[in-house]
């Protein structure tokens, strides 16, 4: 880790080798007595004693290999000079780190290193940030006595081409690989293996010929997923960020939280002046533990993309071009429209959509704007369309609308059941942590229509893939419960102590029904019964089994039922309330959890208290000085329905592109078109803005303070590293709008908003910015009952008291295949792109995925005459689009799959308005479709593009 020059806040030095937990061992190093856990290396023990031993190949994120030989020490009673990185401490050991002999040896090693290294330090990107340079200084190397000989850095030697020279590889858009500077410490190879788990790197050749290799023509063509772990690990400029090559080394750094997925990785934003040089995963980050993925690490260029809108804009009607105006004019225009609508149609004609991308504080303000200023509970969030069933299902069974574990918990799991999630693409950093555990022997069950990459984890042990037909989650999970109950694999002690026994008795009776046996549902689910039985037995038998799930669970008409079925499985096997187990929803967006916590839903106040709860309402009424509506407001789809029906007229949307992300695009467009005042508050003119009257420029996560709450309920600080490019942070814009409507808010910093959240919301009672500064992050609930926060929930009992078993019967979705639409479409995402792509499409990430493609099984392709790369028409009852085909057996026959990252594909044109019975979470994951050869984009796509272009016109500045 390159932490030598810019010690960030919370900096801890590289201890050389990983931490160990063992019984205390006492030793002395250079006369200093130190006690460390058994298994600790001499190197780490020395570091803890404040003694620095030179090193190049060791770093504390990787297991030591003893390659560089700089860290040699002398140990009384030991022969020779063992490497301190690979030598574990023993009781009473006497270590000497500085002797004449060691000094000679280290100089000798450095002399060898430098004899095969270019001496162009002054023009090297790592100048001042190079461990090789540091070590040459540390050991006092003053001359290299070897004459120019065989080497890897001269392009030509003795007038001839140097056969060992390998030119620089700049194929990756974000970093370069210059073999001439490589010292073959293998930190990159090991980082790719141990930290990331991709195993994209190896050593080619051996001895002096040994070179780092991707086994491909270049990095871009290789298995590399560009997570940046190798770049992070490289002690020289061999692997270096192109941004550092361009800008230079950073001079300050601010720890903040990534704004992509729900993992919530901590990063150091390393700056030079106001310029972001690079994002480096922060070792102290408790969600990511120093790791990153291509998005958080590299894909931040959108924040300074030329597409960003930096001035407010308004227009009377959406067929007009935009007009750039001052903030004052924009706010006056908006307030005028909103007041007029409220007067004409009533307060419930207004609504807001909070963003799962924005901070807790901003989300809190937006729902407060609706409730306290508009006077309506018409507030919803994009969590509606992803994890609303999680909130419902887990609250019903356990009593809290959140996952039960922290990410560290995965390190104790013996079996991971992954259902409806694709962690390597959707939650890459968590996937790396899971893969590490899988390599260590944990078993894996994947329930997914598609053979996801997790199943191809190198060095994976026992695994089962249950390739179910989309829409049959409940049938498969209930069949697993059937096996566990009928084969007496339940944890009776846990059930007796923790669960409602009457409900258990009822549930056990219910699932015993032979109708739920794997054999009975095999025809329905497409999963061989034997496979379900094996998986159920493995899950029940594992000492610690954990369930991880994603939108493949929730985005179904039975999403909430599936969440309940998952909770049932965990309870009946006692897999709740300790490390290594639990029910873990993998949240899509960075702040899905937070936006739900903050009262974004129309029926719940912050802290999941129902609007009809008089006591809860009273708290806010006192705090806000208003009367609150005790009735639930409208959900997003209901708002759109009401708009089409003429009773809903104005919508303030912060950081959300419902036109692209919500299902049944045509219906969304019709709803938006029917409104009189659509206010889009965003970084870019997104698709929704095509139907907007007001555009308020947003601020990126780099431009504001606040907090995000990740999938493990961890409240992570977001810190402003640069001034808002459009003058205001998002929370300030919301406040300006509220005040334009006469609210009289006076927040001067988001910490004041957090104070209000803490004062009104029991689970956040003890959360303060001071605490976050001191501790880095905290997991809610954090209050007097849990002052340190709550890494694991339900430890001594369920939050709701007794755990509830609830019957889960499989109900087929109304979306059926038939002769016209014989295939089932399911959707997902890909590593390099994020959600609707608004950010990632504006970065170099497009080199990996420049268009959405349709995955189709060879059999289905054959019968349709479709070949690899052909344009195909994808049609459903709702609509049609066209895209290119990729033929693969990752999907089963009868199933097709695509991503929804590109607006010109608009996969959601074909998804339907079916939704979850309990929460109206849309059924993205099942659509009956037909696929046929086509000539190119559909007529709809072409007309949509024309309309979008027209709607994006901005009047030329005067």
């Amino acid at each position: 880790m390159k932490d030598l020059i810019i010690p960030p806040k919370g900096w801890t030095k590289d201890m050389g080798t990983p931490e160990r937990t063992g019984k205390p061992v006492h030793l002395t190093i250079d006369g200093v007595a130190i006690t460390v856990p058994a298994g600790t290396s001499v190197m780490r023990a020395a570091a803890e004693a404040g003694i620095t031993i030179p090193k190049l190949c060791a770093t504390d994120s990787l297991e030591p290999i003893g390659s560089c030989r700089l860290c040699m020490v002398e140990i009384d009673g030991h022969r020779g000079t063992p490497a301190s990185c690979t030598t574990p401490v023993t009781e009473g050991m006497q270590v000497h780190t500085q002797t004449d002999q060691l000094a000679r040896l280290r100089k000798g090693v450095m002399e060898l290193y430098i004899s095969d290294h270019p001496l162009d330090c002054l023009t090297c990107a790592a100048n001042g940030d190079c461990e090789l340079q540091d070590m040459a200084g540390a050991v006092g190397l003053r001359e290299v006595r070897y004459q120019k000989g065989e080497n890897h850095f001269e392009v030509r030697a003795n007038g001839e081409t140097n056969p060992r020279y390998i030119p620089k590889d700049s194929s990756n858009p974000y970093f370069s690989y210059d073999p001439a500077k490589c010292i073959v410490c293998m930190r990159c190879v090991r980082a790719c293996e141990e930290v990331q788990g991709t195993f994209a790197l190896t050593i080619e050749g051996r001895g002096f010929d040994a070179r780092i290799s991707t086994a491909a023509p270049d990095f871009l063509a290789s298995g590399c997923v560009s997570c940046g772990a190798c770049v992070q690990a490289c002690p020289t400029a061999t692997l270096v960020e192109k941004s550092v090559e361009e800008i230079g080394t950073p001079e300050r750094s601010v720890v903040t939280t990534c704004a992509y997925c729900g993992v919530g990785c901590s990063f150091e934003a390393q700056m030079r002046g106001d310029q972001l040089v690079r994002m480096v995963p922060w070792k102290g980050g408790q969600a990511n533990r120093g790791h990153s993925c291509v998005k958080g690490r590299f894909a931040y260029g959108y924040a300074s993309h030329r597409d960003r809108i930096l001035n407010p804009m308004i227009r009377e009607a959406t067929d007009q071009p935009w007009r750039e105006v001052s903030w004052d004019e924009a706010l006056a225009f908006t307030a005028g429209r909103l007041n007029a609508i409220r007067e004409t149609y009533g307060r419930n004609a207004l609504g807001v959509i909070t963003s799962s991308r924005c901070t807790n504080e901003e989300t809190f303000l937006v729902q407060k704007l609706a409730r306290a200023v508009f006077g309506t509970n018409n507030t919803d969030t994009c969590a509606r369309v992803c994890h609303s069933p999680t909130g419902y299902g887990l609250k019903q069974t356990f009593g809290t609308s959140a996952g039960t574990q922290n990410f560290d918990s995965v390190e104790k799991t013996d079996l991971a059941l992954v259902i409806g999630a694709n962690p390597t693409d959707g939650h890459p950093v968590f996937a790396s942590r899971l893969r590490k555990r899988l390599r260590a022997g944990a078993k894996l069950i994947v329930i997914d229509p598609r053979r996801i990459d997790l199943l191809e984890t190198p060095h994976l042990g026992d695994s089962w893939h249950l390739p179910l037909r989309p829409g049959t989650n409940v049938a498969v999970l209930t069949a697993m419960a059937h096996v566990i109950v009928t084969e007496n694999l339940t944890d009776q002690t846990f059930i007796a102590e923790r669960c409602d026994l009457d409900e258990w008795a009822d549930y056990a009776e219910f699932v015993r029904n032979p109708d739920y046996a794997p054999e009975a549902v095999e025809g329905l689910t497409g999963v061989p019964a034997g496979l379900i039985r094996e998986a159920a037995r493995a899950y029940a038998a594992a000492p610690n089994a954990a369930i991880y799930y994603g939108l493949g669970v929730t985005e179904h008409s039975q999403g909430s039922t599936t969440v309940i079925a998952i909770a049932n499985l965990a309870m009946m096997t006692g897999n709740i309330g300790r490390e290594g187990v639990g029910v873990n929803p993998l949240r899509g967006q960075n702040n899905v959890q937070g936006s739900c916590d903050m009262g974004s839903f129309p029926h719940e106040l912050p802290g999941y208290r129902h609007v009809s709860d008089d006591a809860a309402r009273a708290i806010f009424e006192r705090a806000w000085g208003v009367t609150l509506d005790p009735e639930p407001g409208l959900r997003i789809p209901n708002m759109l329905d009401a708009a089409v029906g003429g009773t809903f007229k104005a919508l303030y949307i912060q950081g959300e592109d419902i036109l692209q992300s919500d299902p049944d695009t045509r219906h969304v467009a019709a709803g938006l078109a029917a409104m009189d005042c659509v206010i889009v508050h965003d970084l870019f003119l997104n698709e929704t803005a095509n139907h907007a009257h007001v555009f308020l420029p947003g601020s990126s996560f780099l431009e504001k303070d606040g907090t995000f709450t990740n999938a493990e309920r961890r409240i992570n600080p977001v810190r402003r590293v640069m001034a808002p490019k459009a003058r205001y942070a998002d929370w300030e814009v919301t406040q300006l709008l509220a005040n334009a409507l006469g609210a009289g808010w006076s927040y001067t910093h988001p910490r004041e908003i957090m104070a209000e959240i803490a004062a009104t919301t029991p689970g956040f009672a003890n959360v303060t910015y001071e605490m976050l500064d001191a501790r880095g992050s905290v997991q809610w609930p954090c209050n007097d009952d849990a002052p340190e926060g709550s890494p694991i929930m339900h430890i001594d009992g369920f939050v709701r008291g007794k755990g509830r078993f609830i019957r889960t019967a499989y109900v087929p979705t109304e979306e059926r295949t038939g002769p016209r639409f014989p295939l089932l479409l399911t959707t997902g995402r890909i590593l390099s792109q994020y959600n609707v792509g608004a950010q990632t499409r504006r970065t170099e990430n497009v080199v990996w995925h420049d268009q959405d493609v349709l995955e189709i099984h060879p059999h289905d392709a054959e019968t349709r005459g479709v070949k690899e790369g052909d344009w195909v028409r994808l049609a459903s009852r709702a609509g049609e689009t066209s895209l290119r085909a990729r033929i693969t057996d990752r999907v089963s026959p009868g199933v097709v799959y695509t991503t929804f990252h590109h607006p010109d594909t608009q996969a959601n044109v074909v998804t339907t308005d079916n939704s979850d019975w309990a929460t109206n979470c849309p059924e993205y994951k099942v659509t009956a479709v037909q696929v046929a050869l086509s000539n190119g984009p559909s007529a709809w796509q072409e007309s949509y593009t024309a309309q979008a272009n027209a709607a994006r016109r901005i009047e030329a500045a005067e």
Binding site: G346, S612, D629, P632, N638, R807, W917, A918
Partner: protein
């Protein structure tokens, strides 16, 4: 909001509670009271009043327990 959609949503809710061991109608009503906005509930009750075409028997049974919208 079209009645069609309300009917479909209500029936979906009823389908879940139908197989539960007890308090089926009460739970359907509670779920609708907790989650539906007053105009939606009014729309459903209007539809019930007009005969409840297409609604499952359990929704009809629950209708008596669905809170009418308060005057706003």
């Amino acid at each position: 909001m079209t009645e069609n959609k309300l009917v479909r949503m209500a029936n979906q809710i009823a389908t879940f509670f139908e197989i539960q061991p007890s308090d089926r109608a009460a739970n359907v009503a509670a779920h609708i009271n907790d989650n539906w906005s007053p105009p939606m509930r009014a729309g459903l009750l209007d539809h019930v009043a007009q005969g409840g075409d297409g609604l499952s028997p359990l929704v009809l049974e629950a209708a008596a327990m669905i809170r009418p919208a308060r005057a706003s």
